[in-house]
């Protein structure tokens, strides 16, 4: 660029539309960690910002806001998703589970316990996303070998590099679940019951 020339950078092509009329907010219903809530949300509010800013559920983290790091992973209707890539209004009527809803009456979920035992985190910032993602992974039931788990957890970046310990924690929780399922099976109880207790 020639020195001295003036360069104008338009950050937003609607810049001159000073009186933009913003769309109005909408009422939606979400069941969050078992509690049904009626919420007035703006159409552009992501599920992540709704949780962190409006509902003070800051356990769900923002690492990139672009679907590239997994820190914002939550379970929506039992499936793991990146909540930064999801507008809240898209999930009207859904059940959302965040890290805050995982422990039951103060008792940690076996996966949370396994994360502590295996030191599966350092700074802890990716951890809620890792845990929610791993719960989703266990439900999907596709990943069983170490390589499959690694692959299936690769949407969750841990810059502290706790990966081998995250793997070990997930494997421990999976083994625990197989045990519970086996015992439950022997008692002829629906094995789903255990899973349900995770996400009411």
């Amino acid at each position: 660029m020639a020195a001295g020339a003036i360069m104008r950078v338009e950050q937003n092509t609607q810049a001159n539309t000073q009186t933009v009329s913003l769309p109005s907010s909408t009422k939606i219903t979400l069941t969050i960690n078992g509690v049904r809530r009626e919420l007035q949300v703006e159409p552009w509010t992501t599920l992540l910002d709704l949780l962190r800013l409006n509902l003070d559920l800051t356990g769900t983290k923002k690492g990139c806001d672009h679907g590239q790091c997994g820190a914002c992973t939550v379970l929506v209707d039992g499936k793991r998703i990146n909540s930064c890539m999801t507008l809240a209004i898209m999930k009207d009527g859904s059940e959302v589970m965040t890290i805050e809803g995982l422990a039951q009456n103060g008792a940690l979920h076996p996966l949370q316990q396994a994360f502590i035992e295996h030191d599966a985190f350092q700074c802890g910032y990716c951890t809620p996303g890792q845990i929610c993602s791993a719960i989703g992974l266990m439900r999907e039931g596709h990943a069983t070998t170490a390589d499959e788990i690694r692959e299936s957890m690769s949407g969750n970046i841990c810059r502290c590099g706790a990966y081998p310990n995250i793997l070990a924690a997930i494997q421990q929780a999976m083994a625990h679940r197989r045990n519970v399922d086996r015992v439950a099976g022997e008692r002829s109880v629906n094995p789903i019951a255990n899973e349900r207790s995770v996400n009411p």
Binding site: L53, T60, G63, D65, H66, Q122, I149, G161
Partner: protein, 756 residues
């Protein structure tokens, strides 16, 4: 005894908070009436702002203010006021100082609004006219402008040459002379930088800041804004990763405080991931290593020169080449480190600054030399093993590197390696084994701590240090609990608070040694008080005992010779009529004792890679890292720290690179999709060995620090393994498949399919 915690694999005391989402980070304090600031970043690298038009943004209801250099409230004038603990020579960057643009991504406006989304939208409406000037952002183009930097505090410049290196090199029977290029890298902690400033009713500020040192950020705010220390309370109880990026105050701290004061209300500023690429980085560095050896492998000459980038306003230098004078026995050594100024932000220390780059080059060159000598790379290292530090002729305070080689090689199975490149295979894939050595420094700095023991036997210890994932909370709790023989549940350690006794920033692997010594010292003071009271108790079993004959364990005090007779700490408190005992302590290293020695942790790293020649994929199958790092306080968190360093080594070797688009002078892959860091699938078997190492010189606890030694050398070990697998030497990090292909194509042009 159950209260012996030092050396035990205790799970993190902050673990529960972290797995339940209760740990709150700087940008997560949702206080009433909070306003949100969003930063507008410069689109050009050099020039000036001709005009900023914020009228569209200000026209939106709910936008409170748009701060720019034109309307920013005045702050301190002199450079000194902006210096922080980790400042480098030069003139620190001051946001909104004037219309001058020094680097792409420089903050030029802060839009503050009632909601985050509104602020973000309004920021997109700010119109900027630039008057650009030609920029220089390519280090390679500035080689002729290299100069010797001013010395930086805490970083010794390369020592003068010893012997006659050029002549010795020229006369050596076997020579290696190669240039190694490493790119800029960004720390990218998972938590973006954020500051929440709470405007208290009396106008004081409570500041939650992402920082590796609350005292450092606190002092910066007071100096820059002319506030008295009591007017600002700065906290940082949880930090979502730092790796050096949080050593110096980041611009969001300045902006959030400025806006809160300007608007007299609470403000939060959080950087975007893109903006995380504008706050400093590990500098791109070009290195030359020349090694001359006799036919038997004896090193006769070692020349290591580095050229690194810095900004136009500060001289950031790091110890790249020093290690080459310390690691090997060699009579003729020349080390040099130069800088060139570019239109970029000042680089920032990043995990093992300098050593990460320097050891990559040195240990790659040593590998090249081993092949030229037809000698096992491990044998070559042992042949030139330094029994003292030849750069200053001091003995090592301890050095179990030989043992690292022995145990690492055994665990890895090094003896089964066949030496020729391309000689090991697994099915259709090439397998390679490589090794490298690591070295870092051990420093202890002055630090303070305070402690309160209650009548109920509960102990709280605090120091204004940080836990950036390093395990500070946990190891300090262990040290305190063991010192006073209390159950660990009864001990709480607090940190990240500017009102606590001062501690250095958390960096340089010096926290465990520095703060650990202060914690030990303050607990010893409480011990002495308890001993005095206990001895005076009627029929005290300790009545005639000397201090050192008394042990503290299981909540009791007893004679080391006869633990069956004891008094409980609670009884002692009751007898003394004490509701609590409070103490403070300042620990100062024994500089005189330490100065007689060369003090370092060492490592030996062994790596195995598998290379698919058809697809070009490189997998790191396993890494064995044997560490000589002094006393290990907690093998569980220690292993994690080393493992993290190794993962960084994998990233450095194969993935990480911040690419500048020279036309714009801007890092263009400024996101986590294009700046690749290792993910779970990239990391397979990692084996960490802690070699026993006793060191009575470093500090009374014998700690050397582990935050950085894990990464040093790992990149070279992987690069060396890739050479062993493929016969291709890539001297330009990261070693991506295209570079391996290109090398392989040059070596065997027929077998490769043409690129589509």
């Amino acid at each position: 005894m159950t209260t012996n915690y030092i050396g035990q694999p205790i799970s993190r005391v902050d673990g529960r908070a972290k797995v339940t989402g209760q740990a709150k980070y700087a940008g997560e304090y949702n206080v009433p009436n909070l306003a949100y600031g969003v930063v507008v970043s410069s689109a050009i690298a050099k020039g000036r702002i001709a005009e900023i038009d914020a009228s569209a943004a200000l026209g939106l209801k709910g936008v409170l203010q748009v701060f720019t250099h034109k309307n920013a409230p005045p702050t301190a004038k002199s450079d000194q006021s902006y210096w922080d603990e980790v400042a480098v020579p030069g003139s620190p960057f001051r946001p909104f100082k004037d219309d001058k643009l020094l680097f792409s991504g420089q903050p030029i406006a802060l839009v503050v609004a009632e909601s985050f989304e509104l602020a973000r939208y309004a920021a997109s409406l700010v119109q900027v006219e630039y008057e650009p000037e030609a920029h220089a952002t390519d280090l390679n183009q500035q080689r002729d402008k290299a100069y010797k930097p001013k010395p930086r505090e805490g970083v010794a410049p390369p020592p003068p040459p010893r012997g006659n290196p050029d002549k010795a090199f020229a006369n050596s029977a076997v020579q290696i002379d190669a240039e190694y290029s490493v790119p800029a890298e960004h720390h990218n902690p998972m938590e973006p930088f954020a500051t929440t400033v709470i405007w208290e009713a009396d106008g004081r500020l409570t500041v939650y800041d992402k920082t590796q040192g609350t005292p450092n950020s606190h002092q910066y705010v007071c100096n820059v804004f002319g506030l008295s220390p009591d007017d600002v309370h700065l906290l940082s109880p949880y930090v979502g990763g730092g790796f050096g990026s949080g050593l110096r105050p980041k611009y969001q701290l300045f902006l959030a405080v400025m806006a809160a004061r300007g608007l007299k209300r609470s403000v939060r500023v959080t950087l975007t991931r893109q903006q995380m690429f504008t706050i400093g980085h590990r500098p791109r560095t070009l290195q030359r290593v020349a090694l001359g050896a006799a036919k038997d492998g004896k090193l006769e000459a070692l020349i290591h020169e580095a050229l690194a980038e810095t900004s136009q306003f500060e001289e950031y230098s790091e110890p790249v080449v020093q290690w080459s004078g310390e690691l090997y026995k060699c009579e003729n050594v020349k080390l040099d480190h130069a800088l060139a100024n570019l239109d970029i932000n000042t680089p920032v220390d990043m995990r093992a600054p300098g050593a990460t780059w320097g050891l990559y080059a040195l240990e790659s060159a040593m590998d090249e030399l081993a092949y030229k000598l037809n000698m096992d790379p491990l044998e070559l290292r042992l042949k030139n093993y330094a029994e003292k530090d030849f750069s200053n002729n001091k003995p090592f305070s301890s050095k179990e590197l030989k043992e690292c080689f022995r145990q690492g090689a055994e665990r890895f199975g090094w003896s089964k390696r066949t030496p020729e490149p391309r000689s090991m295979r697994d099915g259709g894939k090439l397998v390679g084994w490589g090794l490298a050595t690591g070295i870092w420094e051990t420093t202890q700095l002055p630090a303070g701590a305070k402690a309160v023991l209650t009548a109920e036997g509960k102990l709280t210890v605090g120091s204004a240090t940080a836990d950036i994932g390093t395990g500070t909370y946990t190891i300090m709790t262990q040290i305190a609990a063991e010192s006073l023989g209390l159950p660990i549940e009864d001990v709480t350690f607090t940190l990240g608070d500017s009102t606590l006794p001062r501690a250095p920033v958390e960096g340089g692997s010096f926290t465990a040694a520095s703060v650990g010594s202060a914690v030990k010292q303050v607990c010893d003071k409480i011990r002495e008080k308890l001993v005095t009271v206990a001895k005076a108790m009627p029929k005290s079993p300790l009545a005639n005992a000397k201090s050192e004959e008394i042990a503290f364990a299981d909540g009791r005090m007893m004679l080391t010779s006869g633990p069956s007779r004891y008094v409980s700490i609670k009884e002692v408190m009751r007898h003394g009529g004490l509701s609590s005992i409070a103490e403070t302590a300042d620990s100062t290293p024994d500089f005189e004792k330490q100065s007689k020695y060369s003090i370092h942790p060492h490592s030996a790293i062994f790596a195995e890679v598998k290379v698919d020649e058809d697809l070009g994929t490189i997998d790191v199958l396993r890494v064995v890292s044997a560490i000589a790092g002094g006393r290990i306080l907690n093998p569980k968190t220690a292993r994690s720290q080393i493992m993290g360093g190794i993962v960084w080594g994998i990233g450095m070797a194969l993935e990480e690179e911040s690419v500048i688009d020279q036309k714009f002078g801007r890092f263009m892959n400024h996101n986590l999709a294009e700046y690749h860091v290792p993910v779970n699938a990239d990391v397979q078997n990692i084996d960490v060995i802690f070699v026993e190492e006793h060191d009575s010189i470093v500090n009374p606890l014998g700690i050397k620090g582990l935050g950085e030694i894990g990464i040093v050398g790992t990149g070279a070990a992987i690069g060396n393994a890739i050479f062993h697998a493929t016969g291709v030497r890539v001297r330009d990090l990261p070693i991506t498949l295209d570079k391996v292909f290109a090398g392989a194509a040059a070596a065997r042009p027929v077998k490769l399919a043409p690129a589509a």
